[in-house]
Symmetry: C4
């Protein structure tokens, strides 16, 4: 079962909160005998973030201490994608963030992938989960990606958000026309 299963009225999304480990990356952490760590991202997904930013949608990256990505790596991901990085964000912190930005949950999209994301997946206006996420996340989301984490899921969910923005805009235009006519 892939695609969109939400029913509620489509709202223009203003902010995407995107999990790093198991969202922007595939959750794979490489450990070397020399003591280094390595993660990988896909340029399709970074292009997807650029497409969202071009349309005025802010993208923020979320790290969780349960799936620690070393701080130097997290910083490099943040620099490379031009996205601010937040650590261990639950519904409470998102509430505070939205209050500061003057946003409501329905204007927030959330890409998560595990148990720790379930509350935000339920609250967000639009929620997405990569195809290969654990069952607990698959059951809490409105949109299940065809693509796996770290290999196109962010790009696919970004295109889905842009599609909804386009639909919401054309609906608003139709409403205006109807109001002008009658």
């Amino acid at each position: 079962r892939y695609g969109y299963f939400g029913t509620d009225k489509l709202e223009a999304i203003k902010l995407l909160l995107c999990k790093v480990s198991g969202g922007l990356t595939d959750g794979q952490v490489y450990l070397t005998t020399g003591g280094e760590e390595m993660v990988s991202i896909n340029t399709r997904d970074t292009t997807g973030i650029v497409m969202l930013q071009r349309e005025g949608v802010e993208v923020m990256l979320l790290c969780s201490s349960e799936t620690p990505v070393s701080s130097s790596l997290a910083e490099r991901l943040s620099k490379r994608t031009g996205c601010e990085l937040l650590q261990d964000v639950g519904p409470g912190q998102v509430d505070e963030l939205m209050r500061r930005k003057g946003l409501a949950w329905k204007e927030v999209a959330y890409l998560g992938n595990d148990e720790v994301d379930v509350d935000c997946l339920n609250l967000a206006g639009l929620s997405g989960v990569p195809r290969d996420a654990p069952v607990v996340a698959l059951n809490a989301t409105k949109y299940v990606c065809h693509s796996p984490a770290g290999h196109g899921a962010v790009r696919e969910f970004g295109e889905h958000i842009l599609l909804l923005i386009k639909k919401a805009k054309s609906k608003m235009e139709q409403d205006h026309i109807r109001r002008d006519l009658f």
Copy 2:
């Protein structure tokens, strides 16, 4: 054929013995021209280990000299997962381990992936094998994971263990209620 094929009475598992190469990792070893070695693990699986530890199930990692992971890498895996590491463990060493811990085989779960694991797979109360393991291991196990080694198999087998613990507990509660009533 995936899922659980065991028939015997479900016991609460207290210890998971988990193979490193071809269980926690996908068995892939990266060799660099600079002389380094690298392996990869997935944060879904390390989260699975955390979930087991939270429910009081101890997790120990097994390395085998047949599929050598360099000692510095093995140590890093042990530190990162908070699990003790055992080298070249066969049924004899497991017997000794269980005697020290006061456990019976039926309270031990074993995730293995090759010929060297077959004896322990047969003896363990609950045995699991990643989807992409060689035939010899697939034929010796009670549970075949949908996920491949190093990419969710440990998480899936961990969730299966937690499910059995839950079932065993609720069965015990029902038995108590029945005994109190009659």
Copy 3:
């Protein structure tokens, strides 16, 4: 839907323009805590480039600032494949390139994978896209590879080009024979 969907007359291709990120590589960029970056290519694809070069087809690699591959990596790819590297090439630059080489668009094959490639995919005599490219590229191409980017797509598209060259040559030979006979 894989394979060739073009209908126009087959021309002998003289030049293949091949996207690096998401064509020769799978688009995956590895980031290490030590500050390094890494990409991977497959020897099947580099053998495919050698096969084209042997048949007189020039191969040039295209990098795009939207999916930046660090210059040192780009140089190593260029050296390892014996192909010249071009940065941020759109239809205008390709026109200029072809004017210098005395080529027409119908003698140019283009392997692309994203929105930024759509114009060249439409103009090229033969266009190809890896199986796992975003929809926008899949809809703009004549040939959809069975293989994914970085894992055989360049080899498969190269073999398809060589097949068309063979067909174009044998057709020319038949035309000569017919002209000599009648």
Copy 4:
């Protein structure tokens, strides 16, 4: 179409010639900004080599200048698998090798994956190709592996060789019994 398509009398194999790039490895070469190169092998495959060596089958690794693996990496693969390494081996060199070892082609198994391997694939007593090899190799082999290169193909082909050795031995035993009886 996977599995064995040969019809000729099964002979006990004494030597396996195994291609490195696209056989023992998946052909993927990782390039780092620091100038290093990296390849990966799977412990399932190295265990397969150990199983063959235990049954007296010698295993030799083949490198080809068309798919160059840097010498330091080739040496490490040779050391880690305990196999001798040969560079750019065609039928002529194999003839010479067999003359020195007193072997016939029917006692030689060959795991190859590309055009450069076709002659040896045709001559070898038993030939194998990974599932994801180019068509030219798939058409020249007796055994097509279910597993891809670098991820179980060597293990699977090794188990196939051991199966044929077992069958050849039991056939010989039956022939002896028949001869003693009649």
